[in-house]
């Protein structure tokens, strides 16, 4: 454990880091570096440059300035009482990472890694992306800092997150659809590693979550911990106490580690990560890595993963592209095994119910990823009962998900059909518009119904 003496004037005060990982990137038996030798020099270079950078006052100042002036930090904490009515009487506070520039927590990490890229004198960045949020954030930082940018994205994900593909291209990034394997995030990571090993002299790999080989899990955690550092102070200020539980969705685990880290030493605060349960863990069609997986090695680190008896990675399934990953960051595996954090699955249907509820009760459209944490709050609230204070990381906003959500809820004819439709019929939802979207709903005051909408060409005349 790092011990901090009171900061002297002019001295940096960095928040205490957890006592893990060790020097070689191990969180107990998890983590490490399972990569080809060809990448070791680059990982060593990154580790060394990062260790120097993270205590460099000039960097800290620039990073803080970017977070404030560019990202819009600190992100607010919003209480959502009408949503909380569905949470067994618990009170629910949202940490609003959805309000960050680019729409999610991913920008926190990317700004740090982009500064590091410049520091080590590389001119090109590559990234993998699932939901497209990390890709958009990387393309954004690359545009800002004058780096060239290539993003690998599973072909399946380019389809379900088309908006983000367009955003990346507008920002000047090259987006390469990956057609190998399951055509999702896992395969995008494989392709990014292949690019990196080939172009490592000019290129830095901006990894999007707290997985991968050392130093990525620790470095990405350090860049994301601002979420929890801010939230802990914000909750203490407004409530005079700590929350009873901190909740986050877990794909690779960066937003969860981001909000958990500041609370790890607070023994009374439960830390709960919600994994994508897909069709239900019992169906085998899910992405609940810790709940349904076993320890193994994938993408450069030892951690829980979904694998078969031959050690082959099992393809994951989730309605949420950002959680559709058969691995998880090693620190989560460690926090699970030492009993400091809990991990639970949330099905597609539960997540979409929470998604709709937040839209309709609070006027906030969450990312489907984040909706898993909201669904977790609904369940946990009912378990712990009235009076409990839940802090939920709203890791991103749902603009990218409107097509998927429209198809799920069968809103409007223009909604693109997806394979979710077939499953919706199978699970017997049929024409039911889904919870929170009742057909006899009253239009919000001032809303314009479809009939009354003004067609494009006439709009100018009537205005």
């Amino acid at each position: 454990m790092t011990t901090t003496s009171p900061p002297q004037p002019g001295e940096l005060s960095l928040p205490a880091r957890p006592g893990w990982p060790d020097e070689t990137g191990h969180f107990g038996i998890f983590g490490g570096r399972f990569v080809p030798e060809a990448l070791i020099a680059a990982l060593d270079e990154l580790t060394e440059a990062y260790e120097a950078m993270r205590v460099d006052p000039a960097f800290l100042e620039e990073f803080a300035r970017l977070q404030r002036d560019y990202t819009g930090r600190p992100s607010p904490v919003t209480e959502v009482p009408k949503f909380a009515e569905h949470c067994g009487g618990a009170r629910v506070l949202l940490k609003r990472e959805d309000l960050n520039h680019t729409g999610s927590h991913k920008i926190n990490n990317v700004l740090g890694q982009a500064l590091l890229t410049k520091r080590i004198g590389k001119s090109r960045v590559i990234a993998e992306t699932g939901a497209g949020q990390h890709g958009v954030a990387t393309a954004t930082a690359a545009a800002l800092m004058g780096l060239s940018c290539t993003v690998y994205m599973g072909e399946e994900d380019t389809r379900r997150q088309a908006l983000n593909v367009a955003r990346m291209r507008l920002l000047g990034a090259e987006v390469i659809p990956v057609t190998t394997g399951s055509r999702t995030l896992k395969d995008a990571i494989n392709e990014a590693f292949r690019d990196w090993v080939t172009n490592v002299e000019t290129t830095n790999y901006v990894f999007g979550t707290v997985a991968g080989p050392h130093p990525f899990p620790a470095m990405v955690r350090d860049f994301q911990r601002v979420i929890g550092d801010e939230a802990r102070v914000q909750v203490l200020e407004r409530e005079g106490r700590l929350p009873d539980a901190v909740l986050a969705c877990v794909g690779g685990g960066s937003n969860a580690i981001g909000i958990f880290t500041a609370f790890v030493p607070d023994d009374g605060v439960r830390l709960i990560g919600f994994e994508a349960g897909g069709d239900g863990v019992e169906t085998g069609r899910h992405a609940a890595t810790i709940t349904g997986g076993t320890p193994g090695v994938l993408h450069g680190a030892r951690s829980y993963l979904l694998q078969d008896d031959n050690g082959q990675t099992i393809e994951s399934h989730s309605i949420s592209a950002g959680l559709d990953y058969p691995g998880v960051g090693p620190e989560h595996s460690y926090l699970n095994d030492i009993g400091r954090a809990e991990y639970r699955p949330i099905t597609d249907a539960e997540a979409m119910e929470a998604f709709a509820l937040l839209c309709r009760t609070e006027g906030i459209i969450p990312a489907i990823e984040s909706a898993h944490a909201l669904a977790g709050a609904m369940k946990l609230g009912r378990e712990v009962g009235p009076g409990a204070l839940l802090l939920v990381n709203l890791s991103g906003r749902g603009d990218k998900d409107v097509e998927t959500a429209s198809a799920w809820f069968e809103l409007g004819e223009e909604a693109a059909p997806t394979d979710e439709d077939d499953r919706a019929v199978e699970v017997g939802r049929g024409a039911d518009p889904g919870p929170g979207l009742d057909t006899d709903q009253q239009p919000t005051e001032g809303a314009v119904s479809n009939d009354g909408a003004v067609a494009g060409p006439e709009a100018g005349e009537t205005a």
């Binding site: 070689t24 490490g32 570096r33 399972f34 990569v35 080809p36 030798e37 060809a38 990448l39 070791i40 020099a41 680059a42 190998t180 394997g181 896992k186 494989n190 590693f193 292949r194 090993v197 080939t198 490592v200 002299e201 193994g296 090695v297 994938l298 993408h299 450069g300 694998q307 008896d309 031959n310 050690g311 082959q312 990675t313």
Partner: protein
């Protein structure tokens, strides 16, 4: 004594480099892949790298990925690999398993070492396992008397060349290019530099060069300074293009001639 070191030394005694061919088990199916491996042995390969199919082959290019994908989907696993090991060693070549780390970890490191030795295998090449993470494998391979082949790369520092070669037994895999597997038109100059640097780090272990070799002329070039030449994607291409054991045999003949005319330009 190491099975691989012995065979490479025997080739050297004949004034040539050793020829090591790679094929994954299970493409197009288990039997056909084993048949092709045996054809390699009959046509003059000294050792066969028997590839364990893996769903996420991070340092393989499109050619190997395509073949391995088929094997993964067919559920090919360690039992099939051990069958190939028996066939290859029975045919008279040295059998060395090439595996990403997770399939071995999943099978059980101790169990893998025991079963591999029992099947007549000489050891394993582990492309995504660096010695720093290999404590369990080093102990198990010592106990079972198996070779363990680690990789060095152009980006390896001198210190890493020393520690990696010190941990290796059998030979050291000199991955001559920065990049993924796949046949290349030119074998990089970096190969020679890296072989020289590695030899300086540890003079008493065989150095075999791989990544990109596709024909006899390139094999001859490398044989001028390396103890062995490793060929992978070019073999897999023979299989992908449907030429099977015959294609593999013809390619082996070309390569085997190559390693015998070291340094003679094409």
């Amino acid at each position: 004594m190491s099975g691989l070191a012995e065979r490479i030394a025997a080739a050297k005694a004949e004034g040539r480099a050793a020829l090591i061919g790679y094929l994954p088990v299970g493409y197009p199916d288990v039997d056909a892949s084993i048949e092709a491996m045996v054809a390699m042995v009959e046509a003059g390969a000294d050792a066969i790298e028997i590839g364990v199919p893996y769903s996420d082959p991070g340092i393989d290019g499109p050619v190997i990925q395509e073949a391995v994908d088929v094997a993964v989907r067919a559920g090919v696993g360690m039992r099939d690999v051990l069958k190939a090991v028996e066939a290859v060693s029975g045919a008279g070549a040295v059998a060395v398993v090439m595996s990403y780390w997770n399939p071995i970890e999943r099978y059980g490191v101790e169990r893998f070492a025991t079963d591999l030795a029992a099947a007549g295998g000489a050891g394993a090449i582990t492309p995504d396992l660096i010695p720093d993470e290999a404590g369990e494998w080093i102990a198990a391979s010592d106990r079972a008397g198996l070779d363990r082949v680690f990789l060095v790369a152009p980006s390896s520092t001198d210190a890493r060349l020393r520690s990696t070669t010190a941990a290796s037994r059998g030979f050291v895999y000199v991955a001559s290019t920065m990049g993924v597997t796949g046949a290349r038109d030119t074998v990089s100059d970096a190969a020679r530099t890296l072989v020289d640097r590695t030899r300086e780090a540890r003079p008493d272990i065989a150095l075999c060069v791989g990544l990109g070799v596709s024909n006899g002329a390139q094999a001859a070039e490398l044989a001028a300074f390396a103890d062995g030449v490793i060929v992978g994607s070019a073999y897999v291409r023979e299989m992908l293009e449907g030429r099977g054991a015959d294609g593999v045999r013809a390619l082996t003949a070309d390569l085997a001639a190559g390693v015998r005319r070291a340094g003679v330009p094409a």
